[in-house]
């Protein structure tokens, strides 16, 4: 390189030699007459390297068009953001859920810049955290597979299919209440695209406003591939016909129920559920749930020619049958009846808490309160090992318990024993779920009760209470 070379020449002539190697090629272009070869090679290397350093990085001609949805929710105030990080770092699912529910209720959303750091939380609760969060969790989903981003109150018949199942079920129930025919047409339109779980959930809404006009649609789906769907269709048919005779599920249940007469002065019927010998003790609750999944209290009452109250009385000596009745009454929102059942079987909710599946999507806040009051009787029974049961309760309530129930829990012997320092003391998980279940007006009571405990045990629960207080005070 005795003559001057420019940057282009270095790139076009010298660079290929450097890349290919000078072992097999003399690289004449690197040499100038009379110069030391090695020196020339090194000079060429450093000059070419610097030319490359000054070459601007290549950039694409086109970029993606971003389509972040509009999000009307307020962003969480900056002062709360570090506290939220600290809370969500190694907290229980109950604490995370309580936070998500409160953010939803207060129409707040996480700061967009925090989304990457809260990935797991956002993923699990996106549908409660606003459209930005929903967009975030789907950002890498191919367009044809992604859903739309909606607040629950923005749903209509046109965008209904794009929202999550919970929101769709709620929308359909509301529509069936107002206009059963419109609800049925909506279902018919989307039926083919729904997966089996969705079909079960949405079909359950058909109980609302059920009439003979629904028959053709039900007949069209009688042979659905999902057994649960077929069973629900049969039940609905039977309800329309006003007869339970054709409900095979009812027949199967009645085969398992033994009827006898008891009492001397006044003969009363007694009913007892006989479990198959193959069902082990730890499988009992699951078996009962499955066995009675497609039977209603009304079906049984009609079949045994008793009132529903008499049915409960007849089952009073058999906890398993009472549990079956409790499951049915809970599912059907028969709160007065449920209240009567739990007077005899106060641990019904403890037994329910061991069952998986959130089949009873109860979205109405008033319904939830009535259901909780009918089901939970702290003065009669509380679980000895509370954590899984209370965690289930928080999932069902989607928020705090009614104040009356919580007050009884906080005053109960079992909870006092939990707080006893000399014993093992409540676990981190129990404290957090109690704080999550605690309504706002009783947080001061819980704080006082937790005060003597070790900081390590109570700090997440205390942090949760503080954050919820702050979020709920935002207007």
């Amino acid at each position: 390189m005795g003559e001057r070379v420019n940057a282009d020449e270095l790139k076009s002539q010298v660079l290929p030699v450097l890349l290919g190697g000078t072992r097999h090629e003399t690289g004449e272009q690197l040499l100038a007459p009379g110069t030391d070869r090695e020196h020339a090679v090194l000079n060429a290397l450093s000059l070419t390297g610097q030319v490359l350093r000054f070459t601007p990085p290549s950039s694409p001609n086109v970029f993606a068009v971003e389509s972040w949805p509009r999000d009307e929710r307020r962003i969480v105030p900056d002062r709360l953001r570090p506290h939220i990080f600290r809370l969500l770092d190694k907290c229980t699912e109950d604490s995370a859920r309580a936070l998500a529910l409160t953010l939803e209720k207060q129409k707040l959303r996480p700061h967009p810049f925090d989304l990457p750091k809260l990935d797991g939380f956002i993923e699990r609760y996106a549908e409660r955290l606003g459209t930005t969060a929903q967009y975030w969790v789907q950002r890498e989903t191919p367009a044809q597979q992604s859903r739309g981003y909606f607040e629950a109150d923005e749903l209509n018949a046109d965008n209904w299919t794009e929202s999550p199942l919970r929101a769709r079920a709620k929308f359909l129930k509301a529509l069936r209440n107002q206009d059963p025919e419109a609800g049925r047409k909506l279902m018919q339109k989307s039926w083919g695209a729904e997966n089996p779980d969705s079909r079960v959930q949405l079909l359950s809404a058909f109980q609302i406003g059920l009439s003979a006009e629904d028959k053709p649609f039900l007949e069209s789906i009688e042979k659905d591939r999902a057994p649960r769907v077929r069973a629900i269709v049969q039940r609905l048919h039977a309800a329309i016909a006003g007869t339970t005779a054709d409900n095979p599920a009812l027949a199967a249940c009645m085969q398992r129920i033994q009827r006898s007469q008891s009492g001397l002065l006044k003969r009363r019927s007694a009913l007892k559920l006989e479990l198959p010998a193959t069902v082990k003790e730890h499988e009992t609750n699951r078996w009962i749930q499955e066995q009675f999944a497609d039977v209603t209290v009304g079906d049984l009452s009609h079949a045994y020619e008793m009132s529903e109250t008499e049915l409960v009385e007849a089952a009073e000596k058999d906890n398993n049958l009472l549990f079956a009745l409790a499951l049915m009454a809970s599912r059907e929102n028969r709160f007065a009846l449920l209240d009567g059942i739990t007077d005899e079987l106060p641990d019904a909710w403890g037994r329910m808490s061991g069952l998986s599946g959130d089949e009873d999507l109860r979205d109405d806040a008033d319904e939830l309160v009535h259901w909780a009051k009918a089901l939970i009787k702290p003065k009669k029974w509380l679980p000895e090992i509370p954590f899984p049961a209370w965690s289930w309760l928080h999932r069902q309530m989607e928020g705090p318990l009614p104040a009356g129930i919580m007050r009884e829990i906080l005053a109960s012997q079992i909870w006092s024993e939990q707080l006893d320092q000399e014993k093992k003391g409540p676990s981190l998980e129990i404290i957090q779920v109690i704080c999550a279940l605690c309504p706002r007006e009783l947080r001061v009571v819980v704080r006082t009760q937790l005060e003597p405990l070790e900081a390590e045990r109570k700090h997440k629960g205390s942090m949760l209470l503080e954050i919820l207080d702050e979020l709920e005070s935002l207007t």
């Binding site: 660079l15 450097l18 890349l19 290919g20 190697g21 000078t22 072992r23 090695e38 090679v41 090194l42 000079n43 290397l45 450093s46 000059l47 070419t48 390297g49 610097q50 490359l52 350093r53 000054f54 601007p56 990085p57 950039s59 694409p60 086109v62 970029f63 993606a64 971003e66 972040w68 962003i75 900056d78 570090p82 600290r86 770092d89 700061h111 967009p112 810049f113 989304l115 990457p116 750091k117 990935d119 975030w136 950002r139 900081a455 390590e456 700090h459 942090m463």
Partner: protein
């Protein structure tokens, strides 16, 4: 004097459990001798589980700290509790002069013994030593001994220069070997090749160059495959520039020479720089615009704190504070958080483009500042031009700070780019490691900010947006 705030204490605590543990110590009953002087030092002794209480000292100026407890968390609960008590102001601190152990800590900090956050682990008691007792005596001033020491230092320096030059000759031979084999395939054997020459340079007392070579394979592997061969040409070319410049250092501008020697591995002690009258000192209001923590191949953690001088119209506007701590120490963060502001005088290491500095004097402690940082109204193209100018002056620059206004983040496939919004095609690819954390900025139409460019990828450190501040930490 405004001390360390509760918010700062919360920010520097390693985790919530540390705060919880510190809370239990926030009571006078567990402490002896809680004191403060008028230069921002606070100290006390906290009774732990051992026989002797732990000695805890902290600086209210920069939240530096030291405790003699064996905890692996930094700062430990004792350090947090001491600062907490001071911040709350409910427990009195006696006004006093620092005892010897506090003065020792201050002296060691000034001499730069790797205590970025002030964390040090000192033996609970110095071993007794007759030899030390003898040498301590000998430290009294003796002109002949001083002359001998100076001659020895001179000799050592000449020997080192000779060793380095010999090492550079080996480096040249190694570079020739790489070129002979073809740099297109360099990446495939970079790890092994670089390790051997790096070791040679360590032996040649050129640890700076050795470190460059140790880091080179990872730098290349972090790039997409199609870019690795070009990167090899660039990086190896730079090594030759360094070698050749070193041989001709007498003819270089003194500031450039200082850059060069530092790059090769000559160091200047902190105390020496702090005492150097001719050193460039800049006072001002500095905002922390980036905080980076990375483990080097030599198992030291490099802590970088990037600063921006607010309202500057001349002189260096950016600065970087560097600290190195052993990975085994457990410390993962520096003393400052992005967004904090401090009034301080910085002293810069000599350089053709001054950047690395030390804090010479702090007029007000670093505190969280939510005010908008006023950045010069210069777009991305201007920032790139400034980088190129720096590159012409210091051809071996690896990392360069860039501030920009009115840019936006845009996406092409899986890659993100920082693009100018003011027309022109200036666009810098962003680091793949930041894709997830930067993604929310895709929704912002314009951002101003600060980041670091290494020639291949842009690391965004700090951005100001309509939704507030974004930081990379």
């Amino acid at each position: 004097m405004a001390g360390v705030s509760l918010e700062k204490i919360e920010a520097i605590a390693p985790d919530q459990a540390s705060l919880v543990a510190a809370r239990k110590l926030v009571k006078p009953g567990g402490w002896l001798g809680l004191s403060a002087d008028n230069s921002g030092l606070i100290w006390g002794e906290c009774q732990g589980s051992g026989a002797s209480p732990y000695r805890v000292v902290a600086s209210e100026i920069d939240a530096g700290y030291k405790c003699t407890c064996p905890s692996r968390k930094f700062p430990c609960k004792h350090s947090l509790a001491l600062m907490w008590m001071r911040a709350e102001g409910k427990i009195p601190f006696e006004s006093a002069e620092g005892p010897q152990w506090v003065q020792d800590w201050v002296r060691r900090r000034r001499s730069g013994t790797g205590d970025a956050g002030g964390a040090e682990r000192e033996e609970a008691a110095q071993p007794k030593s007759l030899v030390r007792a003898t040498t301590d005596e000998a430290e009294e001033i003796d002109p002949k001994a001083q002359a001998r020491a100076a001659a020895a230092r001179d000799r050592s320096r000449r020997e080192r220069e000779t060793a380095i030059v010999a090492g550079l000759d080996d480096l040249d031979r190694w570079l020739i070997d790489q070129v002979e084999g073809g740099l297109a395939g360099f990446a495939a054997h970079a790890g092994k090749s670089c390790r051997s020459i790096a070791q040679r340079l360590v032996d040649a007392k050129a640890p700076g160059l050795a470190s460059r070579l140790d880091s080179l394979p990872n730098r290349i592997y972090s790039l997409p495959e199609h870019a690795r061969a070009m990167a090899a040409v660039e990086q190896l070319g730079q090594l030759h520039i360094l070698a050749e410049a070193y041989r001709r250092q007498e003819s270089l501008d003194p500031n450039l020479c200082a850059d060069l020697r530092r790059e090769v591995g000559w160091t200047q002690a902190r105390e020496s720089l702090l005492g150097e009258e001719a050193a460039l000192c800049i006072s001002g209001r500095w905002r922390v615009v980036g905080a980076i923590s990375e483990v080097q191949p030599d198992r030291l953690r490099r802590l970088e704190t990037w600063l921006w001088r607010e309202g500057a119209t001349d002189g260096p506007r950016a600065a970087v504070l560097l600290d190195f701590v052993p990975v085994a120490s457990g410390q993962t963060r520096g003393a400052y958080r992005t967004g904090e502001r401090m009034e301080a005088t910085l002293v810069f290491y000599a350089s053709a483009r001054p950047l690395r500095a030390l804090i010479k004097e702090m007029s007000s402690p670093a505190e969280e500042c939510s005010a908008i940082l006023e950045l010069p109204n210069e777009d991305l193209a201007g920032a790139i031009t400034e980088y190129e100018d720096a590159l012409t002056r210091v051809p071996w620059i690896n990392i360069w700070p860039m501030r920009f206004s009115e840019a936006r983040v845009r996406r092409n496939g899986e890659k993100l780019f920082l693009c100018s919004t003011s027309g022109g095609r200036a666009a810098l690819p962003m680091l793949m490691s930041q894709v997830s954390t930067v993604a929310p900025l895709l929704a912002m139409e314009k951002i101003d900010g600060f980041g670091l460019w290494d020639g291949y990828g842009f690391r965004l450190c700090f951005a100001q947006t309509p939704l507030g501040r974004w930081v990379s930490e």
